[in-house]
């Protein structure tokens, strides 16, 4: 790996720019492939470049053989994100666990007393109202959204924004009763049953635990399941 490539990779990690590094196994020559440009000392065949761009879309690194040459395509996509609405007790272990599992965490709570640095060291905190926060965050297909505040004024607008996005996972805390009421309120906003089925409620895999950390674990497990296996589990 050339020093120039190393510097580029370090910069892109900060800028959240998707790219793939392609290295030819036989000599170590390399190229960094972006969606619209290429950089490096490897004159990669167009079939390899196409494979690299496909790998970026699939988020899947791979060793390929092209014309008797082996190339390793190493995909670097920005980290997956988890947006947690409500800086409640469960949010504390969830932020820690999800961070360990490779999520960038943002906690949103307009109630300033909840989302404090003391309770969430090292976590990105936003005290905007959820609709403003969600507009700023712009959830994409690498984003999970979890609502935990238990307050419809805070949770509902975030869920509505999540349903309008491509978020790969949406979870909402609350028992069956309160989830039913929540679905009715969202129906009144114009969401149909198919769309509402994207919300996982009661939230989390059924692990049986009741402690905040156990519920956090169930939520994180369900989000990871959706990431790799889709909503079918």
């Amino acid at each position: 790996m050339r020093s120039h490539t190393l510097e580029q990779l370090a910069e892109h990690a900060k800028a959240r720019e998707s790219h793939a590094r392609v290295v030819r196994i036989s000599d170590g020559n390399e190229a960094v492939i972006y969606n619209e440009r290429i950089d490096g000392n490897l004159e990669a065949p167009s079939s390899v470049i196409e494979a690299a761009r496909d790998a970026i879309r699939q988020d899947h690194s791979a060793l390929i053989t092209d014309n008797n040459q082996r190339y390793f395509i190493h995909v670097h996509n920005p980290p997956r994100r988890m947006i947690v609405i409500g800086a409640v007790h469960i949010t504390q272990p969830l932020a820690q666990m999800a961070s360990l599992a490779g999520f960038d965490i943002t906690v949103v709570d307009p109630r300033g007393a909840f989302a404090t640095v003391e309770r969430f060291p090292g976590v990105t905190l936003m005290d905007d109202w959820p609709d403003d926060a969600m507009a700023k965050i712009a959830p994409d297909s690498r984003t999970a959204v979890v609502t935990l505040s238990h307050d419809p004024k805070i949770d509902d607008p975030a869920l509505a924004a999540a349903l309008r996005s491509k978020a790969f996972y949406i979870g909402a805390l609350g028992g069956r009763n309160s989830h039913g009421k929540r679905l009715n309120r969202l129906k009144d906003l114009g969401f149909n049953d198919e769309t509402l089925a994207r919300i996982n409620g009661p939230v989390g895999l059924d692990l049986g635990g009741r402690a905040p950390a156990e519920i956090a674990c169930a939520i994180l497990a369900e989000a990871i399941q959706h990431l790799y296996k889709g909503s079918k589990g």
Binding site: L6, E7, L9, S61, G102
Partner: protein, 120 residues
């Protein structure tokens, strides 16, 4: 664990690619020789997936992992050679390979690791 692993000066853990790159930058800026090892293919039950990386410096310190800890010793040795001679190499570990038993990849998997120096 591989024989001689007690000599290893590092922490085997699932460091993500960004951490590996950042560590490589730090060591390079300190003037140390650096090599990066990357899992490029796996077969069967291998503990670390494709793209997992280990960064090694010329003093033998390392960060990251390419297995559950069983082949790291052998990979680090090759990485130090790559820092010396500048040649990239593809290492093949698998159960059909007697050497793999020696280094301890007994979990029934096969893994190919590409090792390259961080150059000029």
């Amino acid at each position: 664990m591989a024989a001689g692993s007690s000599e290893l000066k590092g922490e085997i853990g699932p460091a993500e690619s960004d951490e590996i790159i950042a560590q490589a930058m730090t060591w390079r800026n300190e003037g140390k020789g650096v090599a990066i090892a990357t899992v490029v293919s796996t077969w069967g039950s291998s503990p670390r997936g494709i793209g997992s990386q280990l960064v090694v410096n010329s003093e033998g310190s390392f960060l990251g992992s390419v297995s559950g800890g069983c082949i790291e010793g052998a990979v680090i040795t090759e990485a130090l050679d790559a820092i010396s001679d500048g040649q990239p190499r593809l290492l093949d570990f698998g159960v059909s390979d007697t050497q793999a038993w020696e280094v301890g990849l007994t979990c029934g998997g096969k893994v190919e690791v590409f090792v390259e120096r961080v150059g000029e």
